[in-house]
């Protein structure tokens, strides 16, 4: 099976899991990028790219009608592009990480607008279900749910394909700028996880959580000393 089909399928799975079906966190970057990496024969690299992206959108809550960033398909696509480059010989994981970040962030944001547009389109399903009930065929509602799932799958595949293309293009630009070897992958990870702490702290504001946060830091330090 072509790598691009795997990539589009990963984008579809991420988009479907975001809202339509199950919502078992298969849309989260750490999960979908590791799965994609495993499917493309690079599980460790996939896991690294997923960890890099994971905390950036954690504080965004898909509450009520709000459509947040479409981070799942965007992460799958951007990471997929980098993994394809790695399959073709790219060895600089740090550079791949930077390209993935620069591709996934704007695409996730743009994907949020696509989600809103899709929900407006899906308002058209409602009168069709009413018509089906009038024809004594309420069971057709399941068909209309499948159409909704199909919309998600298409959106996810499109964003993932676009993300991979952008990420491959960015890698070319970064190589032209002769940045190969200048981005240590775990320094990049530490910095981006740092941004993630700052973003995620939003969820634990206030004196109720401060002792737990400090307790966690102490426990982490203790773990390092003991192990």
């Amino acid at each position: 099976m072509s790598a691009w089909i795997i990539l589009a399928a990963a984008g579809s799975v991420a988009a479907i899991d975001t809202a339509s079906f199950f919502q078992g966190m298969f849309n989260q970057p750490l999960v979908i990028c590791t799965i994609l990496g495993a499917a493309l024969g690079l599980p460790l690299e996939g896991a690294y790219l997923g960890a890099l992206l994971q905390m950036l959108w954690l504080s965004e809550l898909p509450v009520g009608a709000a459509a947040s960033s479409d981070s799942g398909p965007a992460s799958a696509g951007a990471a997929g592009g980098a993994l394809l480059a790695m399959q073709s010989g790219l060895t600089d994981t740090g550079l791949a990480g930077l390209a993935v970040l620069l591709a996934a962030i704007p695409l996730a944001w743009a994907g949020g607008y696509l989600v809103r547009w899709q929900r407006e389109i899906q308002s058209g399903l409602f009168p069709r279900v009413i018509a089906a009930v009038e024809r004594n065929r309420p069971g057709l509602v399941r068909w209309y749910l499948l159409i909704g799932i199909g919309h998600d799958a298409t959106r996810g595949a499109l964003i993932a394909a676009l993300g991979a293309a952008v990420s491959l293009l960015l890698l070319q630009v970064l190589e032209v700028l002769k940045l190969e070897g200048s981005i240590p992958q775990y320094t990049l990870l530490a910095g981006v996880l740092g941004i993630g702490f700052g973003v995620t702290l939003k969820l634990y504001r206030g004196p109720r959580f401060l002792p737990w946060l400090i307790g966690g830091i102490a426990a982490g330090a203790l773990m390092l000393m003991v192990f």
Binding site: S20, F21, F22, G24, M25, F26, Q28, L30, V31, T34, P43, L44, A47, Y48, A51, Q54, L58, S59, V63, G64, A65, I105, P106, R119, Q122, F126, V129, V133, G139, V141, L145, L146, G148, I149, L179, P184, Y186, T187, L189, A190, G191, V192, L193, G194, I195, F197, G198, V199, L201, Y204, R208, F209, L210, W212, L213, G216, I217, G220, M223, L224
Partner: protein, 251 residues
């Protein structure tokens, strides 16, 4: 002729409720998924097609709850429909049932958003990253297990409790117990976030401890300051990533 929803039709309703958000739209929100979840049970309860269609149509009104906890409402509405079909003296009228659905949507929506989205999801994700730092391929496993065991149990318990207690389940779900669960899952999330900090700084492959501490602290402070306002998230996130990349290139 009126009947009861069989165990298999309730199970079918439970499975369909996994797709409660498919067909999500700005007119009725989760209405299509909610009505589709009820359909297997309505087929059992109403033998007369006209009555079944009327009941089905009444559930195509606006509905919005947390997708996992919507099973509480699905179960309770199946129970209420059984009572209505049997013309039980305790059965709910159309308006009363519509009010219950609206109220349960608000209560379950708020509870689920706080517990799952703002509590369990960050907790499981951060634990997944900790597992990744310790052994890369365990990250995904930790995340999925830690999140999905409570998630699927909550859906199943919702269906069971909703059906057994009917609309009377609402005060028990949304009360003190829910608030305590939210507080604890968030406390554990804060604890896990705290644990991640030293593990990131002292990871064997990151820069030395002082440099790593400064990098993580500066990035966290910048993230906190710049990303408090969601409207500016895209340029802020991008510029922070570029700053971290520049730091990597220059040092």
């Amino acid at each position: 002729m009126a009947g009861h929803a069989s165990r298999s039709s309730r199970f079918s309703a439970f499975l369909t409720s996994f797709a409660v958000q498919a067909g999500y739209n700005y007119d009725g929100f989760q209405n299509l998924g909610f009505a589709a979840s009820l359909l297997p049970a309505l087929n059992d309860i109403y033998e007369d097609d006209r009555e079944r269609n009327e009941a089905f149509r009444s559930h195509l009104e606006f509905f919005c709850a947390h997708p996992y906890l919507a099973t509480y409402t699905v179960g309770a509405v199946i129970k209420a429909e059984e009572e209505r079909a049997a013309s039980s003296p305790d059965s709910m009228g159309d308006e009363e049932l519509a009010r219950f659905k609206q109220a349960s949507g608000s209560v379950l929506g708020s509870l689920g958003d706080q517990f799952f989205w703002a509590g369990l999801r960050p907790l499981a994700a951060i634990a997944g990253i900790i597992a990744f730092l310790l052994s890369p391929l365990y990250g995904i496993l930790t995340f999925l297990v830690l999140y999905n065991v409570p998630h699927v149990l909550a859906r199943a318990e919702g269906m069971r409790m909703g059906y057994e207690s009917g609309p009377g389940m609402l005060p028990a779900v949304g009360g003190e117990r829910g608030a305590r669960a939210i507080l604890w899952v968030k406390r554990l999330g804060a604890l896990t976030l705290g644990i991640l900090v030293p593990l990131t700084i002292a990871h064997p492959k990151t820069p030395d401890t002082v440099e790593g501490t400064l990098l993580v602290a500066a990035a966290a402070a910048a993230g906190w300051l710049l990303l408090r306002r969601r409207a500016r998230q895209l340029p802020s996130l991008l510029s922070l990533v570029v700053l971290v990349a520049l730091y990597c290139i220059l040092t």
